[in-house]
């Protein structure tokens, strides 16, 4: 079977060589391609999206044509780190208010999500534990029942090897949650088509 170049979907382990920006984003976000991992524990869904540098560029530019010079310049600027998003989704309501019984807990949770949670996230790669160096909480208030945390880690000894993101969830008390990404999937990423 051949890959469906129109959608950029991988079938039977055939990875397309190059994809236009919109197809590249869809490919990376397709759970079947191993760049997004999800875990449902009890009532809460935790998911992690691995964001290769070309994906970050596509999100920044939001265009289906990206010039080669811009892609190369931004790649050089972004290449020192590795990027992921952690999403926490609750069944209903606002993430910040979910499960709270007192008003005072709300401010504590805002502070934790904004600042404290960074230390509870690490990336393990090639036996090394890499700290979360860049951390940003994207608040959506009560528009959607989830929150997204933008993460960046330093590059380790084996940037294209197996890696495990470890999140210690003490806020919703689900414990240590691990998301494993296979090096073989990272090595076989398609390239971004530029003009």
């Amino acid at each position: 079977m051949t890959s469906e170049e129109g959608t950029g979907t991988r079938r039977d382990n055939v990875v397309p060589d190059k994809l236009a920006p919109s197809q590249y984003v869809s490919w990376i976000e397709d759970k079947n391609n191993g760049m997004e991992k999800e875990k449902k524990i009890d009532d809460i869904v935790f998911s992690v999206q691995y964001r290769p540098v070309p994906y970050v560029i596509c999100e920044e530019e939001k265009k289906n044509e990206i010039s080669d010079s811009l892609a190369k310049r931004r790649s050089a600027e972004l290449s020192g780190m590795q990027y992921m998003n952690l999403k926490i989704e609750v069944p209903q309501g606002e993430l910040l208010k979910y499960g709270l019984t007192k008003n005072a807990q709300y401010e504590d949770r805002v502070n934790y999500f904004s600042f404290g949670m960074q230390k509870d996230i690490q990336l393990v790669e090639a036996g090394d534990t890499l700290p979360c160096l860049l951390f940003h909480y994207e608040r959506v208030y009560d528009i959607a029942p989830y929150g997204v945390f933008l993460l960046a880690f330093p590059k380790g000894k084996d940037a294209e090897g197996d890696k495990t993101l470890i999140f210690s969830d003490n806020e919703f008390n689900k414990g240590i949650i691990k998301f494993h990404f296979e090096g073989k999937d990272i090595k076989k990423l398609p390239q971004l088509e530029t003009i």
Binding site: T164, N173, G175, I176, K178, H180
Partner: protein
């Protein structure tokens, strides 16, 4: 034109075909459900999250104990000094009582912190174990997975229904994010 006998035969044939088709559809969709049991203690003790949290607890507990031991040593030293002075320095006696009170308060706090941390970790372990065992049951078509806690809850079960090893492997793969 069909005669009476031919028509009767065709009706019987139609009924047979309908019955056979209905049975095949039922058999296909009925998905025979299984039953199995696990030795809960074995799954719990071999669960990766339990091992990781145990290490975290021991690190915290050791740190708390270190502070308490340091306070205890301080109290002992002041006590020895008071004995040597034969209780003449009232300032030392006041300090001894203050340090001793601090020690007892810290000992109580440590006990509460140890209990609270163990309780929190137990809840986290059971939450994830429940989820993963439930998922195993759904993915592998189990009607029931019973837990043998060794307290007589399962009086007898054939060893062939013991799925402890399979469930242990599955829950650990799920915990490590590999499944």
């Amino acid at each position: 034109m069909f005669g009476v006998k031919e028509r009767f035969g065709m009706i019987i044939l139609y009924i047979l075909i309908t019955l056979i088709s209905a049975y095949l559809v039922y058999d296909h969709f009925s998905q025979k459900k299984k039953m199995g049991y696990i030795v809960i203690q074995d799954v719990y003790n071999q669960f990766g999250l339990k091992k990781d949290l145990q290490k975290k607890y021991e690190t915290s507990h050791t740190a708390r104990k270190r502070v308490l031991d340091s306070l205890a040593m301080g109290v002992r030293m002041i006590g020895q000094k008071i004995d040597a002075e034969k209780g003449k320095d009232t300032a030392d006696i006041r300090l001894f009582k203050m340090k001793r009170l601090e020690f007892y308060q810290r000992q109580q706090t440590n006990g509460q912190d140890d209990s609270a941390q163990m309780k929190q970790y137990d809840e986290q372990i059971l939450t994830q174990l429940d989820q993963y065992v439930n998922d195993y049951g759904k993915e592998n078509n189990y009607l029931y997975i019973l837990g043998n806690g060794g307290n007589g809850s399962i009086m007898h079960a054939d060893e062939s229904q013991n799925i402890t090893a399979q469930v242990t492997q599955y829950v650990n793969e799920r915990y490590e994010g590999k499944k």
